[in-house]
Symmetry: D2
Subunit: 365 residues, 4 copies
């Protein structure tokens, strides 16, 4: 049992505080022989990196990842491959500005973990949220880049589908579009509306929430497990473990509770490959905790950034009443940078289940 | 790693198929000295038992639980208490009617795990869904009854807050009402509407979904863990592991994605006990994965029963196209009986985190 | 984490007390499609069953095992196969004679877990040792019978190689002989000496210890894992978890500490199959925690039975000084019946590592 | 499940290869508020460090440890304390001399993991044994230094009790002596004999094995768990996971198999504190997997160093027959430096069981 590890067979353990010396991750259980380079991991990290548009925090972290172990040159190719031993990843913290945080040392920021950490531990690194900072998610993205490499035929993509209550138009959904705007929006028009809305939000010292959708295509049928190792259960756990996430749904999710059985059923017809062909995907690619072969679809709700310029009543560690507002550099919508994090979590869950599948299924030993 | 276990320190392992000889559960990690009787467990099971109204399946399972180990008479009180060793619970299956299922042996019921189990395992007990049947949840309720006993000051209650798209009126929310109608509805008026609606649904051979809300009051601040042992993460995992659940949310959940930072923040004032007093509970009692001392609030969406009289296109194991409809005895809304199951999962998650808390926190060894 | 589970991917959870209603085991993680019958499990149990000679306890337990879940008829063969779901095994306790134990309710039997359980738990089922009774090992043997079935090319055999300080003659070692005497002795002559010695021991109200050797042949090279998942580490854990075991060694074990590097090295020559051929097996088939392809050899020391007729000074739960001697029916040498238990533990460890191997190795995904 | 983690609640995950950039460890589950400094950890590391006498390898590794996370200044004392978040420890590799190893890239060193790693993984960092190098044990010692801090009243000490077949004289056993000679010998005279013997061994290009004894005093009764969480089982696992260890015993160990029940029993008399006072400690402080309150005593056998100057027949990765001898800098007796490693493993096991004890015992919640 570890409170800082995720996954069973493909298992990550992250460590580090927002304003400590470094943050890092140990990836254990990665099969040997997988080609991987620092550059490939860096490419994923760069998608999450702050400071890339006016809509994310201006904190300048190059987030330069180093591989410290577990990768060695392959005899045959000469290129670096995993060796089956633990892969240690490290990012040094460089733009820390701890002074920004000194004044909130004793005041509990509403919506943050300041109070709950204090109650639980009695001591904490208060600088920038310490361990509870979303900075930890950089290591998820780094580990996710490795996880993707063991899912050769799976395409994992994420998109923002709603921001500040403004949803995309599903008819305009275009994955290619997500690379063309600072919101990972699959809908060009929505991106424009969001830009205008977020400019206003930022100026007013407020923040907004968002909904992220992550889709994995190419997952074969039969991945997952019944009862307490369900694929959708692990996805719910994965997404709810991301900072600021308050809800998760699979397939049509909460909508399923509002339609009838015959509407919700995904009819099947005979497929060309001898397998059933589903005519719809309300299930989001999972039945009984096991993948159907359809795209695996998960959505999660991200609450509005808790660090805002607008003062909110709060108390100090010694019980004094204060108004708290945050002058630091913060994302007006943390949901945006949650998109690559959601993709990474999907990759981590799938990689883990792929390895489980190898171990436990198949009718022959 | 186990696909049939839940929890880390308070850990259950369930086994058994819907139409096998019995179903059962091993509860491991329960502290010693907790008074518990079969009657107490039975009382919880009876709340979930089928056949209690015309709105649930007419399958008649007495679901009589037996304690086979882990409980012994206490020297001091003479009454039965847990001994710290594993508690084995068993329910024999009596009303099996396997014949109902023979004809669906080879045809994949849409919305069920028939196809995915076949792909994964190549062999399955097809009778009544076998291992994938919601019958397994009886053992969750039984184990949850034990979990409740180690949470002496916590009140866990569940309610149906929406059925077939018809929501309760929050102003009429009354926990006492949940015992007065066959829906666990906290709103007397909603229960009437649901009865009428469900009669119609049942007659038309259809089914509807529902939304369940579970609330734990009395959970002290400081329960949970950061990063990958978050209380809300484990609740999401717990609820999503229940059959037919497609979405989970904590506190205001998806609604959080649609409001502004200052609306979503839960302001704090100084409390009488030296601890902060929260003025609202959008967070649902969890910040940074750790309890705040407010009620812990979780909601989950249950899809409409997949077993319906209305025919749905499907295929057989050998690829033949068929229309599937289910003549067996089924709940028109499985969400109703999911209420005690949701309560049980809340109890299991909290019991586990209580034990974790004892192990890992506090500034003194 | 569970104190009553063993294994990671092939995982057993046992429950039950010596004089409770039943004992049982849940086997989780067994791949589907493995043919298994109650009779096959019973055959292994019968080898461990008490009362088969004058050298083991006269307690008459038929130890009749029932499979309650996880096994179903195979479509193709019609015979029972595992389904991939948890296999629940149960043995009812029939010859309990609880009255034998009433007088030791409050007195701590030296060498037993009476005192330590009382300190740890404050309450225990004292009848026959309750949970700490070696009766629990019946379930290991039952589960081991299933584990053997997923190791089709591995032969696991155990033998008693020393009893009461009298060792076998290695030159007379003959596996076939182990079935011909009540000691699992591979040396016919040693068996005769042991019979005479043990008759004397039994008459004098004493007991003796023994050393068990378990060998697995046919384990391919590459099974195990480095650092903390070592094959020999897991074997040490497995054997030390058996009641009354005080020492474990792999290959030449403690002898390795007494010879020189060049004597201890196992030289290699080129084998016919392109793999190294080892000229000796001091390593006991494991290097760096991973199997070499040679026989895996483990030995463990079993202390003399603690329940003896000879009085030993002790105290009661209330601190009174007493002399304790045991009139019940006990094995004069518990090491004998530990032989099938040792075999079962070898099978459980190997089955677990086989599944791990499938998941995590191989240079290709 | 992780092949590179040890412990359940106090859990370490190590990473790194002998000649990679660095080695490291993540300690998860350490309670908050424990004072700890780099200097304290360094002090333990220095006891294990190579190059301190002519009897250990001349490799010069300063082994300078850095704490990268999980420790922060305490408000009250101003000194560094654990925060309850993961503690990341790192040691950079400086004296690597990779050239020493280039020629053994393809030849399997007898007694090493070269062949088994190649079979398992197909690729490995061959420099200095890579991941299988005993260099990994530095991180165990570092983590053990933290584990000791949460066992305030426990004294853990290790000693070499046999080297090259020459045992200490138990009558001369003096813990204070272990700090006065380069062997951790508790017997001054034995140390002299060992020095002479080892000089000869070293000159002849050979190596010898050794036996290490580790004793924990001050462990209260009631630590451990029955069946599969036994304290002695976890100690066996811990010690057998150390490189080159081939045998483990608890208390009188294998000797128990050679004496009678009445000799092996540890008699009890009434103690002054109301608890039993044991008159002997054959059990090594553990009964039924749970501590008795007596010293916990474990011994383990370390095989002779496999890297020797004497040529041993072997093969190459391509099946060529060669004679292998090792010119690098190696310990003639790796058992010596295993002493602090054994102490560290004892500390890690006890720390883990202390936390488990807090979680799961006590008759009151």
């Amino acid at each position: 049992m570890s409170h800082n590890s995720f996954g069973q067979l493909f298992r990550i353990t992250t460590w580090g505080e927002s304003h400590g010396k470094a943050i890092g991750c140990v990836v254990d259980g990665c099969p040997p022989g997988i080609p991987i380079t620092e550059a490939e991991i860096q490419a994923e990290l760069d998608r999450r990196r702050p400071g890339q548009s006016r809509f994310t925090t201006q904190r300048q972290e190059p987030d330069q990842v180093k591989i410290l172990s577990g990768v060695f040159e392959d005899d045959r190719t000469g290129g670096p491959v995993t060796t089956g031993t633990p892969i240690s990843l490290l990012i040094e913290n460089v733009d820390q500005r701890s002074r920004d945080y000194s004044e909130i040392r004793d005041r509990y920021r509403p919506g943050h973990a300041d109070y709950t950490y204090d109650v639980k531990y009695g001591v904490r690194d208060y600088r920038g949220g310490g361990r509870s900072s979303a900075r930890e998610t950089a290591m998820r993205v780094a580990a996710g880049a490795i996880a993707r490499k063991i899912l050769p035929d799976v395409t994992i993509r994420g998109a923002l589908v709603e921001l500040g209550g403004i949803a995309i138009d599903r008819d305009r959904f275009d994955w290619a579009e997500t690379a063309n705007n600072p919101f990972f929006s699959p809908d060009k028009e929505a991106a424009k509306k969001w830009a205008a809305h977020l400019d206003e939000i930022r100026k007013s010292g407020s923040s907004v929430g968002a909904i992220v959708e992550v889709v994995a295509e190419g997952v074969p049928a039969g991945i997952g497990a019944p009862i307490y190792g369900k694929l959708d259960q692990d996805l719910a756990s994965a997404m709810m473990s991301i900072n600021a996430v308050k809800g998760v749904e699979i397939g049509n999710g909460f909508e399923a509770a509002r339609i009838r059985g015959e509407e919700n059923a995904d009819p099947m017809r005979a497929g060309n490959d001898g397998r059933p062909r589903f005519l719809s995907n309300n299930a989001g690619g999972v039945l009984g905790g096991i993948s159907t072969g359809q795209p695996v679809v998960v959505r999660f709700a991200v609450k509005p950034t808790s660090s805002i310029l607008t003062p909110v009543p709060s108390v100090t560690a010694t019980g004094e009443e204060v108004d708290v507002f945050t002058k630091g550099r913060h994302d007006p919508c943390v949901g945006i940078r949650a998109v690559p994090v959601g993709e990474a979590m999907m990759a981590l869950v799938l990689a883990d289940h792929y390895l489980r599948q190898r171990a436990q299924s198949g009718s022959q030993t």
